[in-house]
Symmetry: C2
Subunit: 233 residues, 2 copies
DNA sequence: ACCCCTATTTAGACCCGTCAAATTTAAAAA
DNA sequence: TTTTTAAATTTGACGGGTCTAAATAGGGGT
């Protein structure tokens, strides 16, 4: 009854892809995200379908069932609780928590999860600003925050989330002070190139590719609608 | 290069058996300890030998090589650091730490191990009184402590170690106050039956089987030789 | 309506971990 | 020495997870 890391990882990949592109997710997208051969993914997908965790139309794509989504969200909860705990209680540097959590998330017990959440007092965001699903396993609603790459010169924004997938990028961003909750002003946008920011009274340049994975809340045209989404580090 | 849980568990089993019986360890003893079929163990042993982790004479038994011993001790270090951390920082009850540590020991990184040891200030004993190997991975020398079942009426002893392998026994012992470091007096030994102890001014009976897995240091004939082996909880 | 390209699946292979059943070995008993 | 018995290995099976290479399906173009 216990699911293997391979199965959980595949479910997680589908979950993430589902909220980037609309539901039926392609086999090759999953394979790319997992860094596995397509044939590997096809066979895993077969097993997943047999267990009722995904719905699948050959050649068309896959979609999580409710059961599958619950599993994915539970793994996500493990991941983000672990990241938060590692950063907060074991002093892990920001950019290292992801890798460790990615292994451990498959092996902790319900008990461990409970105690982690308790120690952290049921945190709602992980160190990258991503929402942590509650113990009810409701999928956190993905407020479609603006990517930094879509901002304009002069905007004042608060960083809300930073993708946790590249260690080097994260180390750089942490170094220059771009972390969830930070207040930033867009100084310059070079077409197809760097975005220059003012952060903590210094200027920092961020390549467009990286900027695309940073989500922000825009502050300048004082919009009270999404005021509550601010990071809370 | 990363070793699987099955491989690490087998190495650990051989390590433990080697210090209970003299070196060449039988396949069936390993199988029994791991609760696996003998055929399973035989095939794992073949792989272990191919990797130079054990030396093996078919039909005669297996023995860890230096490499194999190092792996076993590293896993043991993970296990006991985890047990200590779970008990101390996550408030796990005594009898539950073993099971959780038994899974996680295979999945934590060197970094995690380091940080655990650091937070705990390089502890030398785990919650059951077992010695924690240092980061040099020297096998902790197994001081051949007396089993409680070998004590005589009137002996005053200090509990030094309690086997962590049975949850129910542990829960009971914790409940009546028999934990490493506790000072105890043997009140009665019924032949083939119960051993009655005085602990914290109450009397407690312990079945012989359980008593065999409790190690103690005898105090009554004031023997200064092993005075330094006292538990330190 | 046909062709082509790319995404996808199939086929076939391999290793790990697991087991039950059959066989072999070694050691003890007769 | 022969027989018996217990332990250990071998055989053959199966599922998971992985891959490369071959076949095939679908969705454009022309």
């Amino acid at each position: 009854m216990a699911l293997s890391p391979a199965v959980e990882d595949t479910l997680k990949a589908i979950y993430h892809l589902q909220q980037e592109v609309s539901p039926p997710v392609s086999t090759s997208d999953i394979a790319e995200r997992l860094d596995k051969a397509q044939a590997t993914v096809t066979s895993t997908l077969d097993r997943l379908e047999a267990q009722g965790l995904i719905a699948r139309e050959p050649y068309q794509g896959s979609e999580l069932t409710d059961d599958g989504k619950t599993v994915a969200v539970e793994v996500l909860r493990h991941h983000r609780l672990l990241e938060t705990y590692l950063a907060e209680y074991l002093d892990y540097p920001w950019e290292q928590v992801h890798e460790e959590a990615d292994r451990l998330e498959h092996h902790i017990s319900e008990e461990f999860e409970r105690r982690l959440a308790e120690k952290l007092e049921n945190p709602r965001r992980d160190p990258h600003g991503d929402p942590i699903p509650g113990k009810d396993l409701e999928p956190p609603n993905q407020n479609p925050a603006t990517p930094l790459s879509a901002c304009e010169v002069g905007d004042r924004v608060v960083i809300t989330r930073v993708s946790d997938r590249d260690e080097d990028d994260l180390a750089y961003l942490a170094d220059v002070g771009i972390t969830p909750g930070t207040d930033v002003r867009i100084v310059d946008v070079a077409p197809f190139g760097m975005i220059t920011l003012e952060v903590d009274d210094t200027e920092q340049a961020v390549p467009e590719g990286v900027a695309a994975s940073i989500r922000v809340t825009v502050l300048n045209h004082d919009d009270p609608a999404n005021a509550e989404q601010r990071g809370d580090a």
